[in-house]
Structures are given as structure tokens and as C-alpha cells.
């Protein structure tokens, strides 16, 4: 469009005015601020809200109408969902609703811890191999080796060695996730080292630790954050799988994988035992993945292609 504010009649004689042109597209609303960001990235909003709800459920599990999730009641075995037992009871008469709520604690703890530990370890290894040439060869060969063992299998093998405990589950999944994070950090570091401003910093005599702190770390934050959410999601699935096949969280602790493992034998006749933990697990993982996708699109449109 050219000009809309003035009246063509007021143009002095002898001057030619450009013709008026129509608008051919609907106007664009430009979004600003935090709420604008959420509207522009609905997946972040939905994923974040779902995840927040689940975190609150995990924290306040004892106060949400639940009973002791480990209390046995042989007389009330395998009851179907009802007003008394919202999600029914399992083969030992335990209240599935309470077990599912408490199970959220295990899943979220494992997911978050693995995301944090794997990111920290991967960051350290990736930095070292991105900056120290001789270490790079050794570390990356080792990571290649680890990466050629399918992660779930690696976690299973590690769990087979130790007693089942939440700590060991976290450790096993973390080890299985580290190679991928290290690779990511290393590739980011290597590409950043090629950047002219890093060259400039080196040329100015800036010491390596300062370069890492000023230039490298801040630029790895965005890809790491996205990667961490994906690790969190995959760690929760792996935990459930490990528990499901009997190599994860000990059966005494209610975790979603354990509840499903216990309901496995009866799933054709009592599908609800498997259904509720499965639904919660799926929704939680979905929430984290939505958050990850949204963050990826929001933080760096270019990265959206590479991931």
C-alpha cells in the first residue's frame, strides 16, 4: 500500500499521484511478551502446562485422596475401577490410583536426574574432546563403541549387574545417554571454534577457559536444553521398560513400569491395571516431547532442521 493518510485533492496541480493499491493479504498480528510467545508456540504452552500438572501431582501425591500405595489388601484383589478404588486394585489388593500417583515421582525423578546428569557429563566430555586434540581421538572412539550398543540394551546390561534401585536405574540410563550428548556438544564446539569471533578472541590472547565461558558455553545452552528434554522423555520410557521387564526399579517401589509389569499376566482380563499407568506414562512423555519440540522451534529456527 502506498498512502492512505492524505487526501489526493490537496496535491498541487501538475503533480501525479501514485495509484492506490489494495491490500492482498490479511494483516499479521505481531505477538510480543511472554503470553505472546506462548500463543505463537502453543506446543510449549500445552507441554509446559501438562508437565507442571504432573509435577504437582507427584509432589502432592499423598494429599490427593490417595492411600498407602504399598498397603496390601488380599480381600480386595483385582477390583475394577469404582467410587472406592478410582483406578481399581491390583493382584495384591493395592489401590492403583495411589500407586499411579506415587509412580509419577519415580518417573519424573528418573527423567529429570538423567537429563541433568547426562547433560553435565556430556557437556564435560564434549568440551574436552572439542578442545583437546589428543583426548578427542580416544574419547570419541570410546563413545563410538558405546553408541554401537543400543541404549536400552546397554542399560539392561548395566542393570543386570547391580541390584535394582532408583539410583542404579538413573546411573544405567545416564551412561547409555552420555555418548549422544557428548557427540552433540563436540559438534557444537567444533563449529563454534570455526566462528570468526572465536578466532578473534584467540588472536587477542584470550585464555581458553575464558573463551569457553564467554563464547562456547552460552551457545551450547540452547541445543543442550532441547536435547535435555528429549533425554528426559527417553529416560522415562527406558525406566518404564526396565521396570516392566524386571530389571529396573525394585518391585517394592510403585513405578509405572512396575505396575504394568504386575498387571501384565492379567492384561487380557483386567486391562485397567495396565491401562492407567500406561496412560499416565504416555501423557507425561508426550508433555516433555511437546515442550522439547516447542523449545527447539522457538530457540533456534535453524536448529529445527538439524534435529
Amino acid at each position: 500500500m502506498t498512502d492512505t493518510t492524505v487526501n489526493p485533492q490537496s496535491l498541487p496541480a501538475g503533480f501525479v499521484l501514485a495509484p492506490q493499491l489494495p491490500e492482498i493479504l490479511r494483516p499479521v498480528t505481531i505477538r510480543r511478551g511472554f503470553l505472546g510467545f506462548l500463543r505463537g508456540h502453543p506446543t510449549v504452552a500445552i507441554g509446559g502446562a501438562l508437565l507442571l500438572t504432573l509435577v504437582l501431582i507427584a509432589i502432592f501425591a499423598p494429599y490427593l485422596g490417595s492411600v498407602d500405595p504399598t498397603a496390601l489388601a488380599p480381600a480386595k484383589r483385582t477390583r475394577a475401577p469404582s467410587a472406592d478404588f478410582w483406578f481399581g486394585t491390583d493382584v495384591l489388593g493395592r489401590d492403583i490410583y495411589s500407586r499411579v500417583l506415587f509412580g509419577a515421582r519415580v518417573s519424573l525423578t528418573v527423567g529429570l536426574s538423567v537429563a541433568i546428569f547426562a547433560s553435565a557429563a556430556g557437556l564435560a566430555i564434549g568440551m574436552v574432546s572439542g578442545f583437546i586434540r589428543w583426548a578427542d581421538g580416544i574419547l570419541m572412539r570410546f563413545m563410538d563403541g558405546l553408541m554401537s550398543i543400543p541404549p536400552i540394551l546397554l542399560a539392561i546390561a548395566l542393570m543386570a549387574l547391580t541390584r535394582g534401585s532408583v539410583g542404579n536405574v538413573i546411573l544405567a540410563i545416564t551412561v547409555a545417554e552420555i555418548p549422544r550428548v557428548s557427540r552433540l556438544v563436540r559438534s557444537v564446539v567444533l563449529s563454534l571454534r570455526e566462528q570468526p569471533y572465536v578466532d578473534a578472541a584467540v588472536a587477542c590472547g584470550t585464555r581458553t577457559p575464558m573463551i569457553i565461558l564467554r563464547h562456547i558455553l552460552p551457545n551450547t545452552v540452547a541445543p543442550m536444553l532441547v536435547q535435555a528434554t528429549y533425554i528426559c522423555a527417553s529416560a522415562m520410557i527406558t525406566e518404564a521398560i526396565l521396570s516392566f521387564i524386571g530389571a529396573g526399579t525394585p518391585p517394592t517401589i510403585p513405578s509405572w513400569g512396575n505396575i504394568m509389569a504386575e498387571g501384565r499376566a492379567l492384561w487380557q482380563v483386567k486391562p485397567y491395571i495396565v491401562f492407567f499407568p500406561a496412560a499416565f506414562l504416555s501423557v507425561t512423555v508426550l508433555a516433555v516431547n511437546l515442550l522439547g519440540d516447542g523449545l527447539r522451534d522457538a530457540l533456534d529456527p535453524r536448529m529445527a532442521k538439524s534435529l
Binding site: M1, D3, L11, V16, A18, P19, L25, G40
Partner: protein
């Protein structure tokens, strides 16, 4: 009679930052066998104009409005299928980047054959023979071997020759060349330009040459149209334009060309630059688009957008003042 008649072409894009009015109300025509140059700095909408003619603008986020009449048909009213029958056949295009404009995983021969098989219904053997003929025509040695090679095995100049071979394979009536020589070495540039001129004479196609290189314009164009910020600001026959540019932007553009040998003849002057910046096309512009950078601009210019006025023989420009000689301060 005009082969192509473009009337009030508007090409806008929806972007997160607002509507980008990349081309806004451009009208021009091209006669049969004529060469029209469209010049302007990068981002002035010249490439978008050429893509709009071929309807290669993705819709959405873009939208093309106005009318593009080619040989009596309004291209904007054709179905996708009818438009495909015109692309590469009646109108074809050569792009700026020979390095990236050819498909890296298909052989050169296959990429030439394709057009012939789609538009002329040739079978594979006939198309292959014609492809080799085309490669000979554009001056590629050993065409029989080259058809079986991949683009990465050819040099930049060679690839642009292949692009020309593809573009001319179906004897188009109109050839749109979007900065065909910009990405090439200077020595190769001259060869490619000469090739284009030769082939134009042989085939009799009209050419729209998009460029920011005024040297190229002087060499091969008959008529020039100057674009700025998505609008046409001036149009004239080539000699007329170089002799007496009327729009202050064109004057600045011509002043910004370094003249070869001028330092030897003692006529050296500083390379003129145009102060200021191109306006943000995502915001509505009131008044003349060039007012922000124009030394002659008055309040009148900042309020009223100038229309195209007759400034000389076949010479039009969109400026309130330049034709009136004296500039009221």
C-alpha cells in the same frame, strides 16, 4: 505488439514480523524479441518480480495479485496444470547461481531431457539426442560424454551453459535471466553474455534480464526499468537512461558505477554512494519510497507518493520534481 504485459503486479508475503510488500504495483511490458533489463539493488523486488511472472512464489505465505498477460492469456488465472505447460516451454528461466541451480544427484543429460520429454513429448532417445545438440549449441566440448556427468564434475561457467541449454531447449518465446553472470568470474561473464546474445538472435526470444550490473545492461539491453523498494521508479530506452537519468535514485545508481580508466584520464571522482537505508517493506510507506534517502525530497514527497510521469521520449519516472527542472526547497 506486446508479448508480455504486466499490470499492477503485487507480490506480498506474510512473515512473523508483518506483511512484506516485496513487489507493490509494478507495471511493464516486453515486446516480442526485445530485451528488457530490470535493475536495482538487492532486495528491491526484481527477483521476486521475475519469480512472480513464472508463478514460482510459494502461496502461502506469498500472494500474487494484478495481471500478467502473456500472449493473450492472464497467467494468474491459469490452473496449475496450464501454468506448468508454459513453464520451461514458452517462458523459461536462468538463475543466478549455476553452482546450486542444477540438481546434484541427477546427470546433466537427464536434466536437459526432462524439459523435452514433458513439453515436446519426445521419447528418451530423441530427447537424449536433442540434449547433446543443445550442449553443442551452448559450446560445451565433448557433449556426448558430458550428458552422462553430474553437475559437480563441471565448472561454474559450464554449469551456466547447461542452464542456458535447459532454458532454450524448447525454443521459449520469453527467457527470464535472473543475474545470470553475477556468480561467475569476469572472463566467463563475457562469454556467457555473448552466448546469450547469439542464441537470442538465433531463437528470436524476448529476454528479461535481471541484474544490478549496469555494465551488462549497457551491453545487451534495449530498454531498462529501474526498481526501488518493490516499485518501478523509472523506465527508458537504454541510451536515454544512461544519458539523462531522471529519478534521483537512478542518478545515484549511475553515479555509483566505477568508471574503468577514469583515473588514467584524470576524470576520477569518488564513487558516489547513496546515503541512508532502504525502507522496511513490512511497514506501510507514506509518500515517496525514496524520500528518506533523496537529496531533493520535500514535505510534499514525504506525504504524496509520486506516480509515473512522462519525462522524455518513451521515458517515464516516478518523481515529483526531476522533470520540472528547478527544485523548490
Amino acid at each position: 505488439m506486446a508479448l508480455l504485459e504486466v499490470d499492477n503486479l503485487q507480490t506480498h508475503f506474510r512473515t512473523p514480523g508483518g506483511i512484506n510488500r516485496a513487489v507493490d504495483g509494478v507495471s511493464f511490458h516486453v515486446n516480442e524479441g526485445e530485451t528488457l533489463a530490470i535493475v536495482g539493488e538487492s532486495g528491491c523486488g526484481k527477483s521476486v518480480t521475475s519469480m512472480s511472472l513464472m508463478r514460482l512464489i510459494p502461496e502461502p505465505p506469498g500472494r500474487i495479485a494484478g495481471s500478467i498477460r502473456f500472449a493473450g492469456k492472464d497467467l494468474l488465472k491459469l490452473s496449475d496444470r496450464e501454468m506448468r505447460a508454459i513453464r520451461g516451454n514458452d517462458i523459461s528461466m536462468i538463475f543466478q547461481e549455476p553452482m546450486t541451480s542444477l540438481n546434484p544427484v541427477l546427470t546433466v543429460g537427464r536434466q536437459i531431457r526432462e524439459t523435452l520429454m514433458i513439453h515436446q513429448g519426445l521419447d528418451k532417445q530423441a530427447a537424449e539426442a536433442h540434449a547433446i545438440e543443445m550442449l553443442t549449441l551452448v559450446g560445451i566440448p565433448e557433449p556426448g560424454r558430458r550428458v552422462r556427468e553430474y553437475p559437480h564434475q563441471l565448472s561454474g561457467g559450464m554449469r551456466q551453459r547447461v542452464m542456458i541449454a535447459i532454458a532454450l531447449a524448447c525454443n521459449p518465446k520469453l527467457l527470464i535471466a535472473d543475474e545470470p553472470t553475477t556468480a561467475l568470474d569476469v572472463t566467463i561473464q563475457a562469454q556467457i553474455l555473448k552466448l546469450m546474445l547469439d542464441l537470442k538472435r538465433r531463437v528470436g526470444a524476448a529476454i528479461i534480464l535481471i541484474t544490478h550490473d549496469l555494465g551488462v545492461v549497457a551491453e545487451i539491453a534495449e530498454r531498462v526499468m529501474v526498481m526501488y523498494a518493490g516499485r518501478k521508479v523509472e523506465e527508458a530506452p537504454v541510451a536515454e537512461l544512461f544519458r539523462s537519468p531522471r529519478h534521483p535514485y537512478t542518478q545515484g545508481l549511475l553515479g555509483a558505477v566505477p568508471r574503468l580508466g577514469s583515473s588514467l584520464t584524470g576524470t576520477a571522482r569518488r564513487l558516489a554512494e547513496i546515503p541512508g537505508q532502504v525502507p522496511d517493506l513490512r511497514k506501510p510507506i507514506v509518500g515517496c519510497v525514496f524520500a528518506g534517502r533523496c537529496a531533493l525530497a520535500t514535505d510534499l514527497c514525504r506525504q504524496y507518493a509520486p506516480g509515473l510521469e512522462e519525462k522524455g521520449p518513451r521515458h517515464i519516472a516516478a518523481c515529483h520534481y526531476s522533470a520540472k527542472g528547478a527544485v523548490a526547497a
